[in-house]
């Protein structure tokens, strides 16, 4: 099994090597990068390329490591006990398997995405060390051991909100998705919008990279914003000429709402455009 990008996803060479190493050695792959550079999408594309079923575990600030293994639904058991339900006798009826259990117990190899691991408590990764290493865990309530039949491929994404513990990192491969260069970006746009006009893309990318260069932006637009924007431009049939940033009157790009998500940034851009207009006069 080798991953080499898909028709919907442009993978750089270093990314391919990292993914293939993780797949071959059956170790988790930790993916970091600016928001909107396609970390989560990557897992979906790997699953599609290698034809593996995808399990997604979205981590939230309240998620505990235990949630990924299993949960014991004590409340329904208590309720059932008061109703005299026969189910009560067997505790296994109240054990709800989590995503890791599902991945371990599956008949075929699975791809497990642990999304945004940094959202959880700081101890969360440490609590998963043994489970990810040995790919097995023990269920106290029933006394059984769940062991992976096929070691799942695990992709972990992080937005860097918390430092991950060293012991956890040592067990992973790591890839940092860099912000795409212009050439890569052109390929990405081409993959998503095969029918788009060449000069529209050129002008749009000019504007896009120019906006990214503006110092002091609170949130610089990323790949996903660019794709949204181009989609809008195509839908509104904006001519490429309208994007020429040097044009005095239209210095603020059309439909900029798709690129800038923050009113301070929009104000700043408008002010810069105003200054540019004044200079141009």
């Amino acid at each position: 099994m080798r991953f080499s990008g898909t028709e919907n996803y442009v993978a750089t060479e270093d990314l391919m090597v990292a993914v293939n190493a993780a797949v071959t050695l059956e170790r988790p792959l930790l993916v970091k990068g600016e928001p909107g550079t396609g970390k989560t999408v990557l897992a979906h594309e790997i699953a599609a390329a290698l034809k593996l079923p995808l399990l997604t575990w979205h981590v939230k600030s309240t998620t505990k490591a235990q949630h990924g293994l299993y949960e014991y639904d004590a409340v329904s058991r208590l309720r059932d006990s008061q109703l005299g339900d026969a189910k009560v006798k067997d505790i296994a009826n109240y054990i709800k398997p989590g995503k890791l259990w599902q991945a371990f117990a599956a008949e075929s190899r699975q791809l497990l995405l642990i999304d945004e691991i940094d959202k959880a408590d700081i101890e969360f990764p440490n609590d998963l060390l043994l489970e990810l290493d040995r790919m097995e865990f023990f269920v106290f309530e029933t006394g059984e051991t769940i062991k992976a039949q096929h070691r799942p491929i695990i992709i972990i994404t992080s937005n860097n909100e918390k430092e991950l513990p060293g012991a956890f990192l040592r067990r992973c491969f790591f890839h940092y998705i860099r912000f795409p260069e212009r050439e890569t970006m052109e390929r990405i746009v081409a993959v998503h919008f095969p029918g788009v006009k060449k000069n529209l893309v050129r002008e749009a990318l000019n504007v896009f990279f120019e906006i990214r260069e503006v110092p002091g932006l609170k949130k610089r637009p990323s790949t996903s914003e660019l794709l949204d924007w181009i989609k809008l431009l195509m839908a509104d049939d904006i001519p490429p000429e309208a994007l020429k940033a040097k044009d005095v009157k239209t210095a603020v790009p059309p439909l900029y709402g798709a690129l800038l998500k923050n009113e301070q940034d929009v104000h700043m851009l408008e002010r810069l455009a105003f200054l540019a207009r004044r200079e141009g006069r």
Binding site: A21, L25, L78, S81, R170, F174, H175, Y176, R178
Partner: protein
């Protein structure tokens, strides 16, 4: 097998371990990376580096090791501290095509690295222009913002003449490396360490343990127990130095301030000038009209508030020691007396200083303030912030 690389990484201060090294060897054995150097570079990077801040250092070590320069001197060369202002210099020379044509390459990559090492050893001063020394805007093969067809770039964000040599020499991760530069986001990350959760307020969450205990107690009749949700319980009292010598640090302080705002539920901030005296103010624009008596502040907030001062502590020693020493008004009691009152009221206190730590020794008042705080003064860098937060959460 690749022990030189591992050793080089260790020396450059990267946290690499045997586990990762073995993983790399295993991966190489399975043939994941094919047989090109570039693939090996990607593979080594994915298995040995786990933090994007270290990617740049990895690139440099990799470049050195695989050019056969394993000697200690070379590795020290990498670590040699090149002052930032050398490289910040914006003296950019633009060359005409004839000039470019006239510039001769030094001949061969190996020779280039060899010469770089020698130059690093020889050179001790900042240099700009010229055609031999490492610096900026010149025609020497070493340095930045200049032109030489075989140039080795040092401290330049991107290749201006698009002549990068190897992938790892592109140093694309250089801007992720720096620990000196701190932005709001970084500060938030550091401050997050200070969060402490406590259950307060309305009972909205199911208390599983309590419910089971209570149900058992009632002979099996379900008795739901609720607990309040967990909230951030850290209270912070922030004192910001405003005006005077702090003007150049205003941006950093504003960032710290905006980061604080979102991170804590109880955050009270006050301004002072140079040192705290009998009055502080909440709004810097109305500092002369709306002063709050410091006594009132001292009485208002209980001792569980964490006290954070932000200021450069750079002033005349009299402003701390003498009654009447303040620059703006006549103070009946000395700054030292007031500082002691603060520290007695709030035992958890730190001082964050935007002045770089290596300059602290040259300012007497910084040393005095540090002594007053029993050494709890930290530089306003990410590392300093981390240490300060560590101190506060004890």
């Amino acid at each position: 097998m690749f022990f030189t690389l591992l050793e080089g990484l260790k020396k450059a201060g990267l946290p690499v371990s045997i586990t990762e090294y073995l993983a790399l060897i295993e991966a190489v054995e399975t043939g994941v990376a094919g047989y090109s150097v570039e693939d090996f570079y990607y593979l080594a990077r994915a298995s040995l580096v786990k933090d994007e801040r270290n990617l740049d250092r990895f690139d440099r070590v990799f470049g050195q090791v695989f050019k056969g320069l394993e000697s200690d001197a070379a590795l020290e060369g990498i670590l040699a501290h090149i002052p930032e202002e050398w490289l910040k210099t914006l003296t950019q020379r633009m060359f005409s095509d004839e000039e470019k044509a006239r510039i001769e390459a030094l001949g061969g990559w190996e020779k280039l690295m060899e010469t770089l090492r020698k130059r690093l050893e020889e050179q001790k001063e900042k240099h700009s222009g010229g055609s031999k020394w490492i610096g900026t805007g010149g025609t020497s093969p070493f340095g930045a913002y200049g032109y030489n067809p075989e140039g080795v770039r040092i401290g330049q964000a991107e290749s201006r003449h698009k002549r990068a040599v190897k992938v790892w020499d592109k140093r694309e991760f250089a801007n992720l490396d720096d620990t000196v530069e701190i932005g709001t986001r970084n500060i938030k990350m550091a401050l997050r360490r200070l969060r402490k959760f406590a259950r307060q307020g309305a009972a909205t969450e199911l208390d599983m343990d309590g419910t089971i205990r209570s149900t058992a107690h009632h002979g099996g009749l379900l008795d739901l127990q609720m607990v309040p949700e967990r909230h951030n319980a850290v209270k912070v009292l922030l004192f910001l130095d405003a005006g005077g010598s702090m003007d150049e640090h205003v941006k950093v302080c504003a960032e710290l301030f905006s980061a604080c705002r979102t991170e804590f539920k109880h955050l009270e901030s006050y301004y002072f000038h140079n040192c705290v005296y009998e009055g502080v103010w909440r709004d810097n624009r109305r500092r002369h009209t709306e002063r709050v008596p410091t006594w009132q502040v001292l009485r208002t907030y209980p001792a569980d508030y964490k006290l954070i001062f932000v200021g450069d502590a750079s002033m005349s020693p009299y402003e701390i020691l003498q009654p009447g020493g303040a620059v703006e008004h006549w103070n009946p009691e000395s700054g030292e007396v007031w500082m002691r009152r603060f520290l007695e009221t709030w035992p958890h206190a730190v001082w964050l200083n935007p002045v770089p730590q290596k300059h602290w020794a040259y300012t007497e008042s910084i040393a005095m303030m540090r002594k007053l705080l029993e050494g709890r003064m930290y530089p306003l860098t990410l590392g300093g912030l981390d240490a300060a937060i560590g101190e506060l959460s004890h």
